[in-house]
Structures are given as structure tokens and as C-alpha cells.
Amino acid sequence: MTFSAQLEARFDKLLKSYPPGRQRSAMIPMLLYAQDEIGQITGELVNEVATRIGVTPLQVNEVLSYYSMLHTKPLGKYHVQVCTNISCLLHDGDKLYEHACRKLGIGHKEVTADGEFSIEEVECIGACSWAPAIQVNYDFHHHVTPEKLDQLLDGLRKKP
């Protein structure tokens, strides 16, 4: 597989970050950074990462099924993650999540037909004091109201 020069540089750095013989440590970061570039974890990527760190594809698959941020199916271009955990719940995070589902016409871990958006009801994202909070891809949005969410999603939809 070929990746961007930037990702290759990151892989090189990662493979040098752990003690000799411990290159397996780079697995989870490599999978996540590669997912960011190619959109999902494919079988080809699993094989590639396995080869580069010297483990079997089975060992990569076993790890990848554990981590909630690693996806084997494509997400929307904008992955909308709404926290409904306790601190957000106390600020109506559950209602915000339902609003987002209605607005986009999709449910948990579903993708819109045009591939623009996906939704995930997520566990605590570490924005508890600024609840309710969401993440769109890696960007945090704090004190989100249904109106602010509408504006945000409409703005993203218009982006080229």
C-alpha cells in the first residue's frame, strides 16, 4: 500500500519510538492515522500494518475489534459524535442526540445516503464542564444547542 508522504513520515517516527523488538506498540496509532487518511480500516490495511510491525493479520484484527474509534466500515465525511454520558445528559445531551438523528435522518453508526454525515452516540469525550458537547471528526464543540447544531451541520453541508 502507498500512503501520503506525511503519513509515511509518521509511520517511520512511530516505528522508531519503541524499544527494539517492540514495534507492535505502533499498531494502534498506525491504524488510527491510516484510517484518518483512507477513511476506514480495510483488509489490505490490516495486512500492510501487520507486515510493517511483524505480526500476523489475525493479531491486528484481534486488536482492532477492541477499540471503538477503529472502524471497518466507512464513516460520513463528517462524523458527528454526540455525547450522552451523565454530565452531558444533565444538559439534555440525549435530546440533542435525538435532534441530530432527526435532522440527518439516520441513527447510531449510520451514514447519510450522500456519504456526507454519520452519527454516533458516544461515551464521555472529556468536555463535561462545557456540556452538552459533540465532536465532529476530531473537532470539539461545546455548549451545543439544537439551533447551534443545525447551523453547524448546515454550514458543513455547504462546504465544497
Binding site: L32, C124, S129
Partner: protein, 437 residues
Amino acid sequence: MLFNEPSPLETKVLTRRFGLPNSASIDTYLATEGYQAFLKAAKMKPEEIIAEVKVSNLRGRGGAGFPTGMKWGFVPRTSSKPKYIVVNGDESEPGTCKDRVLIENDPHQLIEGVLIAGLSVDAHAGYIYIRGEYRYLIEVMEKALAEAYEKGWLGKNIQGTGFDFDLYAHTGAGAYECGEESALLESLEGKRGIPRIRPPFPAVAGAFQCPTILNNVETFCAVPAILRDGGAAFAALGIPKSGGTKMTCLTGHINKPGVYELKLGFPVKQMIEEVGGGIRHGKKLKAFIPGGSSCPVLTAAEVEGATMDYDSMASRKTMLGSGGVIIMDEDTCMVKAALRIMRFYAHESCGWCIPCREGTTWLKKILMRFHDGQGTRTDIDLIGDIAKNMLGRTFCPLGDAAAMPTISIVEKFRQEFEDHLNGKPCPYEHSGSMVTV
């Protein structure tokens, strides 16, 4: 960037640089006594560094509250194996968002704390494990690491002291369990985040089976101040047995939610009323969680006279925990709160220990049924029984973390469970139902 206004009642030790222009840059850090504690420590004997940390009464800020100096003292410094320093930045305990602001606003303080830990046990490499959702903090950290290498505060022969240290940022990929120290070490080795049986503890067999100091971000961030101003000065900020300050995240039904640095022993009432501006909409307090959703819940009556420190919370059979304060007002449905907390633990249970894997899932199902008005009277005791049977029967504390708040809610708010039996889905809430996934 700060997401909330500071409070005049804060004691700014770890947050002393917050709000300065470019507070995350090495130039700002060096201009404000940055890395001076490391230079001081480099002239000390390792045992003197550990003694200073012991004098400070610093206790682990991730939730367990274990004395930091003692933990460092367990590392066999003269072992022929390499030693490692690992930073737990997997902040995921619901209610907790403090490590985020510490890394974002002052990453060099964390680097300096790690360097001092490295000196104390003769370690020459370290890893900062940051949860995957905090991608922007990986970038902040990598920029700070690059600055530190460039200016000679990391790498070979740091500032001519003869001490070498390499430090790396490592991303997680979404797993609460990886905040548990032994599961974090598994994850760092490229495996599923499943806890290890202890002993051996990480101090003896940690990262790559080598002796390791593993502490929370906030714990390391306290270390430069301890070496700079002396352990006694840090200890004097708190109360006996609990030195210093605690990053406290006020969340839930409060007028001024935010992250505040408060002296240990800060009165809870003053924290709610003066730092947090009181309960939202002038309502009354119903329930109080002192430090993340795994802590037993306190009632408004139990909060009377309480202070934010390890002993005051232990005397009320709860914990100071991570500093994630969750405030629930009189309109909160405690069955719903118990259900949401349990849904989280059921989702995050790694599945390794059966009492946790099955217990959390069954409790979630029973609480869901209960909240929907389908519960039976025997369910109330069943919830308490299942939870009690999880306590102490798992490799790691996740099972306890799920059981403890549940037991406390059932015991202290039993009437609300009784009320749910009257046929109404939720007598405390008139709109909205629990999102179920």
C-alpha cells in the same frame, strides 16, 4: 485556550501559566521559571527527589489517590532493566475534563514532571498515552516535544547534566478501560486493553515488562512545583495527609460549570455556591458525585460539612476520585442517572472478567426495564445484589466502578425506584425518554 472564566477562589499552582500569551510555548515556559525544577532535581540524589515528593503528600490524581512518592519508591532503581515513565492521559472517567486543559495550556509542565520522575528512578524514556479523541492534544504535545528537543530539554545530555531522556506521545483509539494502568500498558504494547493480574505491579514489571512509573497527567504536572518551591510548601496548600491542589471539574446542574484548581480540603458548599455560582435555576441539590461517575453518590444532607479531600470523602464512604464533580438538582431522575452510568460501564467493560462483563450488562437491562416502567419490586433488591456481587471480584476496578455508584443510588434513593413501580415510565421527568443503543 480556556473554556471557562477562572474563579478568584482558585489556588493557581498547576494553572499558574493559564491565560498567559502562548502559555503552551517553551518560550513562555522558560520565562516563567520553567525547567528550573528539573535543573534543581538534576543536582539532587534520586532518593532526595523521592523524599521531596513524599514530603509534598502528593497523591495520585487519576482517581485512586495512592501516595506518589511511595509509588516512585517501589521502582527498583538499580535494576539492570531499562526503566520507563508512562503518563496516563487517557482521561475518560465521566465528569472529568481536567487533563485536557493541563496539556492544552501548559504541556511543558508535564514534560518537566516526567523528566524529574525519570531522574528519580534512572529512567531514560517515557510515553505520554493520550486518548484518541484528544487528537488536537497529540498535536499540542508533539509540538511541545519538538520544542523541548530543539532547545535541549529532551534528548542526550540535557543541558549538560549528563542525563538522557526521550519522550513520545502515543495515541489511544477509544477505550475507557485503557485508563486503568495495567490495561494502558497492554494497549501501549499494541494489544487489546485488558488488565494484567497484579502483583507484579507496574513499578516492577510495567511497560515492556520493565520497571515503570505510571501516573496521571495531573500528578506529573504537580511535580515541577514541588521541586521548585519544596514539598513542604506544596503540602501546606492542602490539609494533613493530602497536599496541594486538585483540578476540579464542576459539571451538571450548576451555574458556572468549569475546571478550577482548588486547594485540597476546599469546602463543598463553598465550591458549589461561590466557585460554581450555585445550583442552576435556583434549584436544590439532590445528588453529588465528588470525582467521576465511579464514585458513590452523596445526598444533599451528606454533603453538609464535607470538604474536597481524600479523608473527608472516605469518611462519607465515597472517594475524591478524579475531580469530576457531578451535580444533580432536585428534578433529576436518579433511576435514569443510574441507568446512564451503568450503560457506560456495560459499554466499556473489556469482557475479561465475568462478574464485570455479565454484571454490567444485566444491570443495564434491569435498569432500562425499570426506567421504562416495567420493573418489579424484587428488581430493586436484585439491582443491589448483583452490584454487590461484582465488588472485588474482578482483575481491575472497572467492576467496582460500575457497582459502587449503583449500590449507593439504590440505597439512598430507593423511594425513586418505588415511585417508578406506579406505572409511569418516569415520575420525575415529563418529556424525553432514555436514548437506547
